[in-house]
Amino acid sequence: MKNVAVLGVGMYRFGMWSDVSNATMAREAGMMALRDANLSFKDVQAAYAGYIFAPVMAGVRTMKEFGLTGLPVQHIENASATGSAAFREACLQVESGRYDVVMVLGFDKMTQMIASSGANTAPENMEDAILPAGFFALWATRRMHERDMKPAHLAKIAAKNFNNGALNPMSQRQAKETVTVEKVLASRMVAWPLTTMMSCPIGDGAACVIVGRADLAKRLQPGRPVVRVIASDLQTEKYAPGHLFVGPIVGPGQMSIDTSRAVYEQAGLGPKDMHLVQVHDAFAIEELEYYELLGLCQPGEAEACIERGDFELGGRVPVSTDGGLIARGHPGGPTGLAQIWETTLQLRGEAAKRQVEGARNGMCHMMGGGSVCVIHILQRQ
């Protein structure tokens, strides 16, 4: 991907904001991103809005918060990967040369969705009777059967993400003291072996990224390193025996392997060149599996790498540096954009206490409904 850069990023901290509207959260995140880019809304030529739970046309309606300039607005939904998929469309538009500056806005109010679904006691689909955490727990049980994984490995990942989140002012979960493996293991069991602290929270929030031509980035913010988007790929499932058609929430691991290979090839880089990585860690078992599926370690090595601290801040390749979905939160639409926010700050050297020293290449991986995988590689120029 040539001449595409992140011009600005903004977030409305994820949390349980039942009395704050999507419009307010989205406006604040959007204005923050515009200020960060040194741009006005008048400069935005097109916009992509991403959300999962809001009503029809919520994107166009929310964009009116910034003013009515007549710009084209499109809606993107791809479950958890909504924000990442919307970001990809903006990058493709800039790359094509049609637009120079595109806004990507993600927002969601999961608290409202939970409140409204509680009124209906009959699941719409058969698989909805089963808690999503149950499907991810099946992955963990299988791993324990095939490899030397223990619940403590999952707890160590969760503890890392909680402690990273405590260094990020935009993280939903803010641990007051260092979270230990023991504390994670002692939290309430949800679906064996996954506990509440190994699972992401529900929440509300917004995030915004301004995408534009890389040559503009230097002109708009002369004193700041330019963060380019050098690779983007989105894939859906390929059929293989044992494929799950009902309740495909986890998704085939092969999808992450194939999508990561595609972005590595586009970028002319490999997993060893990544200085930090964000993944779809809705549950700790996911992050463990993605270490291997994204090539950050060899198959079967994840447990040893976790024990060594390879993926912690200060380790070989820090993962979920902002707290990940487990601590920073996962409202839905804005989640993938929060990964871009974090990676952009890290590559600019603006990540304060959680800064990965000398970070030049960062990868953002998201899964949506177990049926789509989106990966981007960002690079400091």
Binding site: T121, A122, P123, N125, M126, E127, D128, A129, I130, L131, A133, G134, F135, A137, L138, W139, A140, T141, R142, H145, R188, M189, V190, A191, W192, L194, Y239, P241, G242, H243, L244, F245, V246, G247
Partner: protein, 145 residues
């Protein structure tokens, strides 16, 4: 018996049979591709593997092998059956014909073992007037009710 005289209705049509005899295991409503031989659950018009439209509807026996399992410590969503309030097992079950099915499991966590044989049964989720709304689940064969 009032139990057996109640009409049993599937939680969703098109996924499994509800036999007249309550002792009989439900069957899975599957599709077989006539071109490449692959089986699918649930039914579909076009083969997901070779894209052939030459597919036929078949019923697969309600039995399989446990690929993975968990125990969820929450009530089964949409169920008013008191037996579901303390949680429920969940498994991925491989039918001998190939399809992998995710479903609730009958029993407690320590009853389950990867590789064990299971048999499908119907389980009442809630009552609606004179009808019972049923979902399928699997039970370890060594532990038949």
């Amino acid at each position: 018996m009032t139990e057996s005289s109640r009409l049993r209705v599937p939680i969703k049509e098109g996924f499994f049979t509800v036999p007249d005899d309550p002792a009989e295991a439900p069957k899975f409503l599957c599709t077989k591709c006539q071109t490449c031989g692959e089986y699918f659950w649930p039914r579909r018009a076009i083969c997901a593997k070779c894209l052939s439209e030459d597919t036929v509807s078949v019923e697969c026996e309600g039995r399989g092998t446990l690929f993975s399992y968990t125990f969820v410590h929450m009530p089964l969503f949409g169920s008013t059956n008191l037996a579901h309030m303390d949680g429920y097992g969940v498994g991925q079950v491989d039918l001998p014909e190939g399809p992998r099915i995710q479903a609730p499991l009958a029993g407690k966590k320590d009853d389950f073992q990867i590789g064990q044989q299971l048999r499908a049964e119907l389980d009442v989720m809630r009552e609606e007037g004179s009808r019972d709304i049923v979902i399928f689940r699997f039970r370890p064969v060594e532990n038949q009710a």
